[in-house]
């Protein structure tokens, strides 16, 4: 879903070699929109002066962002650590389970629908349970993120490991390859694009999961709790500044995965 020419194109553009056509077609228009929206927002707030809790001016938000810089980024990285830990745990378990499940045709075809259906369960709503189990601190947030990352990773990985056609497997068998070699040289590389697709989804999910789990309670030194409290006491500009931090961290995580994907799978191009 997230996978788009634009998101990936941005990293490609920054590697230099931005020709003028590219500039006009894909960079200038969004930049223009950005400037116009910001200008209208700022002017609108100055002219109509809505209460700050409803909509603070961009200038106000940026002032807050820099005034509370250390504080915001400390909270940001506290939340980010939860997200990354949960991501690692959930994706890791997902991969391991998938390797086992994918070995059996029946097991995969029977289990996969359930794993897919788990997408429909609002997992974050279980945050209070996680708090009961793992405490109000990082533990419960990491657990929620891990559960959220587990299912998409497992589903993609099972699908990926099962993509090689019978003909491709037969080819390996004709070389008298053993199960391990078939896994290592055929199934695993075939699953890589699927795995990275899941990683990209989970990168976003993990930030969402961590922040939303924090909405259910925790120390104020975390983004989610901070956003919630500041919004409640009507210091909306602080909450907005915190959201900017969350967005930067979310995008960075996503792009880190994209870069890793490029590095590890140079043979795989974006064109589906």
């Amino acid at each position: 879903m997230v996978n788009s020419e634009w998101l990936t194109g941005m990293t490609r553009g920054s590697a230099g070699n931005v020709d003028s056509r590219r500039w006009q077609a894909s960079i200038l228009p969004p930049l223009l929109v950005f400037v116009v929206v910001l200008a209208v927002w700022e002017l609108g707030v100055r002219i109509f002066q809505p209460p700050t809790f409803l909509l603070p001016a961009p200038s106000e938000i940026s002032r807050t962002f820099f005034a509370n810089f250390t504080e915001l980024w400390t909270y940001g990285f506290n939340t980010f650590r939860e997200a990354v830990a949960g991501f690692a745990l959930g994706c890791g378990l997902g991969i391991l389970v998938a390797i086992v499940v994918a070995r059996s045709e029946v097991l995969s075809s029977v289990l996969l629908p359930f794993a897919v259906a788990s997408n429909s369960v609002p997992i974050v709503a279980m945050a209070p349970l996680a708090i009961v189990w793992f405490g109000i601190d990082e533990g419960s947030k990491i657990a929620i993120v891990a559960v959220m990352c587990f299912f998409p990773t497992m589903v993609s990985m099972v699908r990926g490991l099962r993509t090689p056609s019978p003909a491709q497997v037969s080819l390996m068998r004709s070389y008298a390859a053993n199960e391990w070699q078939i896994f290592r040289k055929l199934r695993w590389p075939a699953a890589m694009p699927f795995l990275f697709n899941a990683f990209k989804i989970c990168a976003t999910l993990s930030m969402i999961g961590a922040i939303v789990a924090e909405f259910f309670g925790g120390s104020v030194k975390f983004l989610g709790v901070y956003i919630k409290t500041e919004a409640n006491i009507l210091r909306t500009q602080n909450a907005w500044a915190a959201i900017i931090v969350a967005c930067i961290l979310g995008l960075s995580f996503y792009f880190a995965i994209v870069l890793l994907e490029r590095k590890l799978m140079p043979w795989f191009t974006e064109e589906n």
């Binding site: 894909s26 279980m126 009961v132």
Partner: protein
């Protein structure tokens, strides 16, 4: 591949139901088993009977299950409203993107980026801001569900509306079809598979959005409120938190299920 041939001959549908029952039985067994084995306190893992008992416990407003059902429906309505509004506005924006390139160039990058960023973090500010304006309490939840639906639908509907192949388009030109005819008879039907992919994601997202919107203090109705209440009284009534979370999960599954059902009817021309 190495599964016993006897198992392989049973229809997959039956197998799925069988496995579902088996999984449920296994889960219940593990539940009660681990409770005894690890000697888990009730507030961490209540007896299954305690959850059942929590559902039927009487209150001044009637038995708990009826109260929870009403709250779940309330949340469901908020989510549904947002789902419909977000779906319609997302599709309309996609239609604009397809017919007017500058709009797509300027706005699409932001729509795509929204998917890599925890936009749900805006929820507390929307609840507080809209609440302060004196709007009805369901409105802010519906707004959250709306924007969570809006972005995925915009992306996928745009992709779907553009997914028509060149010859299919040329065919229409050869009939001297109007733009409107091309849109109605070609682009819209071609976009449906893409649209439903997004709607399934959004169905769950809108439920999550509505629940998250109910978390801030001051909310009075909805299953989100009940989850918070449940976590507060977990020590006294350990089954209740589980009961609220089960209701939230059922709501998510209902939304997803209905969309999946409509999809199956609408796309019957695709493969069986």
């Amino acid at each position: 591949m190495r599964d016993a041939s006897l198992v392989a001959r049973i229809p997959t549908q039956w197998l799925r139901w069988g496995v579902a029952l088996l999984l449920i039985a296994l889960a219940l067994f593990l539940w009660e088993g681990s409770k005894t084995f690890f000697n888990l306190p009730d507030y961490k893992l209540p007896h299954l009977a305690q959850i059942g008992e929590a559902f039927v416990r009487p209150t001044p407003q009637g038995p708990v299950w009826r109260v929870l059902l009403q709250d779940t429906l309330y949340t469901g309505l908020e989510a549904f409203l947002g789902f419909v509004l977000g779906g319609i506005s997302g599709f309309l924006l996609a239609a604009l993107f397809v017919h007017w390139k500058p709009a797509e160039r300027g706005l699409m990058p932001y729509v795509v980026a929204s998917q890599a960023v925890p936009i749900i973090a805006l929820a507390p500010m929307i609840v507080v801001g809209v609440g302060r304006l004196g709007a009805p309490p369901w409105l802010s939840k519906a707004i959250i569900a709306t924007y969570l639906t809006f972005f995925p639908v915009t992306i996928n509907a745009t992709r779907g509306l553009k997914s028509v192949d060149r010859d299919a388009l040329w065919l229409m030109h050869s009939y001297a079809a109007t733009r409107q005819q091309i849109f109605r008879k070609l682009r819209v039907p071609a976009s449906l598979p893409y649209l439903f992919t997004a709607l399934k994601i959004s169905a769950t997202a809108s439920v999550i959005g509505a629940i998250i919107g109910e978390l801030p203090v001051g909310s009075k109705r909805g299953i989100g409120v009940q989850i918070v209440v449940g976590s507060q009284y977990n020590t006294f009534n350990p089954g209740f938190l589980w009961a609220t979370i089960i209701m939230a999960a059922l709501l998510g599954m209902l939304f997803y299920g209905v969309v999946a059902l409509v999809e199956r009817r609408a796309l019957h021309w695709k493969q069986e």
